[in-house]
């Protein structure tokens, strides 16, 4: 729909700009706050970035805020390990699950598929107590597997890959069989390369999902060495009577935004392709 009416162009741009401002302004405030000393921002809030950028960020990354006991650097690494662990785990497990459901004829196949599908309706919060119990019994508290494993099953990704596999022509599988390859070879040589755009799209979504996990890491980590960044930020605010170190907190917040933003920017093209086209 292409229309050339000047006032319409003006209106659409005005709405878009307003939207951008609404979203960008808090980020700008955060950024400004992270570049000043604590005194500057607690007295009269400045409008322009200050000169404490390097000092604040270095302090956040190396020393960390008071009372938390871990540097932002450590917490970022923890977050990264968790996010990547969840992403790769979810993708590999759901790929294999979808492969099994689509290409193998086993007893109760559809039953299992619907079981997986039904779990879509159960968010982490609903099953969090039993999951905690299981994780505790398996001695997974305060460990990377404990952060990653309980979140690794994904009905959404399984479903997405199933739908993709269903439209892959059967002849490809038959052709591999005649060429002399087994099921795993078909999976590895044909199916996996063909699904790479879907995998890329899922990677973006799942990485952000993993990075933003809050409740689960909060429950199972008590050792500061395993804090993720989002928990760290929350802990930084719990200072009781004292003054929160806003400049450090804001620096940590800015740092927390960087990995997801980077992922989205770098994988934007694949993400869009994965959502829109399928190679056949």
């Amino acid at each position: 729909m292409v229309e050339s009416r000047p006032w319409l162009t003006f209106l659409t741009h005005a709405i878009l700009i307003a939207g951008v401002v609404v979203i960008a302004f808090p980020i700008y405030v955060t950024f400004v706050a992270s570049t000043h000393t604590l005194e500057d921002i607690t007295t009269a809030f400045p409008y322009l970035p200050g000169d404490q950028l390097i000092a604040n960020y270095t302090k956040a990354l190396t020393l960390g805020p008071r009372d938390v006991g871990a540097t932002v650097g450590t917490m970022m690494i923890n977050s990264l390990i968790m996010a990547l662990g969840i992403t790769f785990g979810k993708i590999s497990i759901s790929l294999l699950a979808a492969f099994a459901i689509v290409y193998f004829r086993f007893r109760f196949r559809m039953f299992f598929f619907w079981m997986i599908f039904i779990t879509l309706m159960l968010p982490v919060e609903v099953r969090i107590l039993p999951t905690y119990e299981v994780a505790a019994d398996l001695k997974l508290l305060d460990s990377y597997p404990g952060l990653i494993l309980p979140l690794i099953a994904s009905a959404t990704a399984t479903f997405l890959f199933r739908q993709f596999f269903l439209i892959v022509p059967d002849e490809l599988c038959e052709s591999v069989r005649i060429d002399g390859g087994g099921p795993l070879r078909f999976f590895w040589d044909i199916l996996l390369p063909m699904s790479r755009t879907s995998i890329a799209a899922l990677f973006v979504i799942l990485f952000i999902y993993g990075w933003n996990q809050y409740l689960w890491p909060l429950l199972i980590t008590s050792d500061e060495g395993y804090y993720t960044l989002l928990i760290g930020i929350k802990r930084m605010l719990d200072v009781g009577e004292g003054q929160a170190e806003w400049h450090i907190i804001m620096a940590a917040t800015m740092l927390a935004m960087i990995p997801p933003v980077l992922i989205v920017i770098c994988m934007q093209k694949q993400f869009v392709r994965g959502m829109t086209e399928t190679e056949k």
Binding site: E171, S175, R177, I178, D179, G180, G181, I190, E279
Partner: protein
């Protein structure tokens, strides 16, 4: 290089039997075409030879070895699929080399074979391209190349030309025939296109509803169809069928309105004085002078194809409609009269109930 033997092969999906016992011995180096309408089970039969469908009953043997329980890969067959089934993310070279790589063949040997096949199929300049960058005919050739490099015992083709346009189809048909003559590998080819079947096959298996109704050379199937189904299926336009009655002396056959056509010889006693279906191919009519008239046709309409002319009309009463095909251009007017003759050897008689051929 191998012979293929089908011994009373049957296939059921659940309780529904779709192949009702087919037997055929395919010789080493022979080109067999399985021909039939959609849903007659021809692709299923091919897939059973390939090993992609389980064989419910009977035996399939390749090179003397019964392969019922053997995986497709072990049967040493190669297959061209209707949609080619090229691996979309691999270039042409890798598509052709894939089957060899799986088998763990040495790199140099793979390269030699792929380049050789690409040379035969004129694909050398496309080796680096992905399938989606190729035209339909080129994809088709890649699919064949993938089979050639394997040097299998048997080639299987599942309607390989049905996705090509008419001109390309004719060209690829010739290429497949030439390829077969050069390589001499036993081939089984499934199609519903009778022109492909007639031109490619050393022998045809004509299938109808899960049964092999006739197995024979293309000419045999054309000139002595074993059932009314085969007669109607082979030949275009389709054969004319008329209700008829064989005379008591078995020397002639009467069409409904007392038009008599002589039979080549006295018919055997069991087909005298009985109802029959008379079949005459459109191309076997001859226009004759009024003197030797056997059939008087009233023209309904005419289709001029350039090389041929198709004439649709009625004989005597309205019940008997005929299509005739005459070489060259004829511009008959509607409701004009035509005098036609048919060589006695070109008449076919079929049983009106079960459709089997009645030999005169």
């Amino acid at each position: 290089m191998a012979d293929v033997n089908l011994r009373n092969v049957t296939k059921s999906f659940g309780k529904v039997e779709v192949i009702h016992g087919i037997s055929c011995d395919i010789d080493d180096g022979e080109f067999i075409v399985i021909l039939g309408p959609s849903g007659c089970g021809k692709s299923t039969l091919l897939r059973m030879i390939a090993g992609l469908e389980k064989i419910t009953g009977g035996e399939v043997a390749i090179d003397g070895r019964v392969v019922n329980a053997i995986e497709p890969a072990e049967r040493d067959v190669a297959m061209v699929f209707q949609n080619y089934a090229l691996y979309p993310h691999m270039n042409v070279f890798n598509n052709m080399a894939y089957g060899l790589k799986i088998r763990g063949m040495a790199k140099e040997e793979i390269k030699r074979r792929v380049l050789h096949a690409a040379g035969i199929l004129e694909l050398t300049e496309f080796l680096e391209r992905k399938p989606r960058q190729l035209s339909g005919g080129q994809r088709q050739r890649v699919a064949m190349g993938r089979c050639i490099v394997r040097e299998p015992k048997v080639f299987l083709f599942d309607e390989p030309l049905s996705n090509l346009d008419a001109k390309l189809r004719v060209q690829m048909r010739l290429e497949i025939r030439k390829l077969h003559e050069n390589l001499g590998i036993t081939s089984v080819y499934v199609t519903h296109d009778q022109v492909e079947a007639m031109t490619l096959g050393d022998r045809l298996i004509v299938m109808d509803d899960g049964r092999a109704v006739q197995i024979g050379s293309p000419l045999e199937v054309y000139s002595r169809p074993s059932t009314r189904f085969v007669a109607g299926f082979i030949g275009s336009p389709a054969m004319n069928f008329l209700k008829a009655r064989v005379s008591a002396d078995g020397r002639q056959v009467a069409i409904a309105n007392d038009i008599h056509l002589p039979l080549p010889g006295p018919a055997p006693s069991d087909i005298r004085s009985r109802e029959a279906i008379l079949g005459i191919r459109p191309e076997h009519f001859e226009v004759v002078d009024a003197g030797g008239v056997m059939l008087d046709l009233v023209v309904d309409h005419v289709e001029i194809l350039g090389a041929d002319t198709l004439v649709y009309g009625r004989v005597g009463d309205a019940a008997a409609e005929l299509t005739i095909r005459l070489p060259d251009v004829h511009d008959f007017k509607a409701s004009a009269g035509l005098s036609l003759a048919v060589p006695t050897g070109r008449l076919h008689l079929f049983d009106p109930h079960d459709g089997r051929r009645l030999d005169v």
